[in-house]
Every structure is written in structure tokens, then in C-alpha cells.
């Protein structure tokens, strides 16, 4: 079985996110004054071959903990779909 794993990596809340701040300023300058608390992370998609959804999630978590996210500065969210 192949699962499509969507990983969303975000800078940990409380840590300064200068990219998010700069984009927020730009949005304000464009007149979108209602925009606030902009944060910028990254999205990663990958296929994972696994016997079950739980197994795919467990493996994807290991990938995040070891490489895809930095545990010091980032949090991640997983979304798993059957292909």
C-alpha cells in the first residue's frame, strides 16, 4: 500500500519568524490591514510504502524527527492519504 504523506513544518510559536513579519508588513502595505500573525513554514509531500496507515504515520514521524523538521526550532503536522 502506498500512502501520500503531507508534512507541514512551521517555525515554533514564540520564535521570531522574520520572513512572516516581512510578508505581514507587505500585506499591510498592500492595504490588507486585517492580516496579522503571518508565519511561514514549508510543505513537504512524499509517498510512503507501508502495510497500514499507522505504520505509514509512524515512519513519517521518524522522518520528521530525524530530518524533515528541526526539533529545536520547528513543529510539524502530518496528513496521510491513501493513494
Amino acid at each position: 500500500m502506498t500512502y501520500r504523506v503531507h508534512v507541514r513544518v512551521m517555525p515554533r510559536s514564540g520564535l521570531l519568524d522574520p520572513q512572516g513579519q516581512a510578508v505581514e508588513h507587505a500585506l499591510t502595505a498592500l492595504g490588507f490591514e486585517e492580516a496579522g500573525s503571518v508565519r511561514i513554514g514549508r510543505a513537504i509531500e512524499l509517498d510512503v510504502a507501508a502495510g497500514s496507515r499507522d505504520e505509514a504515520e509512524a515512519r513519517a514521524r521518524q522522518m520528521c524527527d530525524k530530518l524533515l523538521a528541526n526539533p529545536v526550532t520547528e513543529d510539524y503536522l502530518l496528513n496521510i492519504e491513501e493513494d
Binding site: 521570531l16 520572513q19 530530518l67 528541526n70 529545536v72 526550532t73
Partner: protein
């Protein structure tokens, strides 16, 4: 003679400057490609600056998995000295040889200029030739040099005296070039508890030759030779 391995990753760009600074100090320097599994009996290892793997994913994140890093970890675990400069510091953090992480500069811009730092710890392999509290001017050149760590880690680094270099805080009308990136506690470099593994953002290899205008970094390279002369009878093993 002190054998110093300068590790080259795809994207390293301070490798030749670092090798030259090593050789000028009187040590025997040589390159080790990141695909190698042996450090060729290195006494000391330096991870130079650059943009290993194009900084893909995060600075240093991919280089950490290069084959040579197994040997670097074994070398460090056996008490062998390792210096990470700039991207090398980022790699040491990603490899968990040093705590914390280096994030995008607070002002978002790539910063390339001389900055002033204070040498805060001199009982390391790489700073023993400095006077305590010495103030040096060395270039930085990085987009991701803002040191961050959880509060308890920062406290531990301070309590254990593991901050090796600190930027001069930005104060009005100061004649100094201050913290360029928003680093926590103005940290420019840290070490492990033993003082054998050191990571710094400034580039001592670019401040080690009178012809380059700055010489304050040269003592990083003479320090390592003096350390080796004192410890060579111990025979630190390396992979």
C-alpha cells in the same frame, strides 16, 4: 606534525581559505571529501563555511548525513577536537554535536561584514592562545546565523561557561560592530562541555593574514597546534 582535516562538502566555499590558515599556522592541512569514511588519522577536524547542499531543507541538515560525518562523530566522541565555522557550526548543531540551532537572521538580510566579538571561553582547543575577554574583529557572512536554543539550554550554556564568542551588544554610539543577526544572548560561538567541539559564526580564516587586513582570527589556528603539542602523547584516535 599536527594533522588537520578540512572536510569539503558540495557547496563548501571557505575550504581553501581555511586550509591556508591552517598551513600558515604551521600545521599539516589536507582536504577530506564528504564521501570519505576515514579522516586519515586527523588530529583535528575543521568543517569550513559555505552552503553545503545549497542549504536545502535547512542549513547543514543534509550535510549531517554525509558519510564522513560518522567519522567526525567518532572522532569527537573520542575527545578529538572539531571546529565548525559558519556552515560548519550549522552542521554541528544539526548533527547534535552542539546544542541549539541557527535560524534566519532577524533582519532577513544576508550579512557580510566585519563584526566585533569577545572571547569568553579560553579553555577550548581553539581559543587557548587568546587573553580572556579579548575583543576581536572578524568577518561574518551568513543568512542564517541567529543562534536559538530553549531557555534551559541557554541557561546551561551560560552556567557552564560554554559561550566561546559573544557579539558586542548593539548600543547607541558604540564604536563596535554589534550583533548582526539577533542571536540569543548575543552568542557568536559555543562549545561542548569539554571545550573540544567548538562552533562559531565568524570566519577566523578570513582574519588570519595581514594581507587581508585583519589578523585577530589567527590564534584559532595557533591554539589548535599548541593543544596538539601538549596532548600528542595521549594519542587521540580518529576514524
Amino acid at each position: 606534525m599536527t594533522r588537520v582535516a578540512v572536510v569539503r562538502f558540495p557547496g563548501s566555499n571557505c575550504d581553501f581559505d581555511t586550509l591556508r590558515a591552517v598551513e600558515r599556522s604551521g600545521a599539516e592541512g589536507y582536504f577530506v571529501w564528504h564521501r570519505e569514511v576515514s579522516l586519515q588519522n586527523a588530529d583535528i577536524v575543521i568543517l569550513p563555511g559555505g552552503f553545503s547542499y545549497g542549504d536545502y531543507l535547512r542549513s547543514g541538515a543534509i550535510a549531517r548525513f554525509s558519510p564522513v560525518m560518522q567519522a567526525v562523530k567518532q572522532h569527537a566522541a573520542a575527545g578529538g577536537p572539531v571546529l565548525g565555522i559558519c556552515n560548519g557550526f550549522q552542521i554541528l548543531c544539526e548533527a547534535h554535536l552542539l546544542p541549539g540551532a541557527l535560524m534566519r537572521n532577524a533582519a532577513l538580510t544576508f550579512v557580510s561584514k566585519p563584526v566585533d566579538v569577545t572571547v569568553e571561553r579560553i579553555d577550548t582547543v581553539f581559543t587557548a592562545d587568546y587573553e580572556p575577554g579579548a575583543r576581536l574583529r572578524m568577518p561574518v557572512a551568513h543568512g542564517e546565523g541567529r543562534f536559538v536554543a530553549p531557555p534551559d539550554t541557554l541557561r546551561m550554556l551560560e552556567d557552564e561557561g560554554r559561550v566561546v564568542l559573544r557579539y558586542v551588544p548593539a548600543t547607541e554610539r558604540s564604536p563596535y560592530q554589534p550583533n548582526p543577526n539577533g542571536s540569543a544572548h548575543h552568542i557568536a560561538g559555543i562549545s561542548n562541555a569539554e571545550g573540544t567541539v567548538v562552533g562559531i559564526m565568524p570566519h577566523p580564516e578570513r582574519a588570519a593574514d595581514r594581507a587581508l587586513g585583519l589578523t585577530g582570527g589567527a590564534a584559532f589556528f595557533t591554539s589548535l597546534i599548541h593543544w596538539h603539542q601538549e596532548h600528542s602523547h595521549v594519542g587521540v584516535s580518529s576514524g
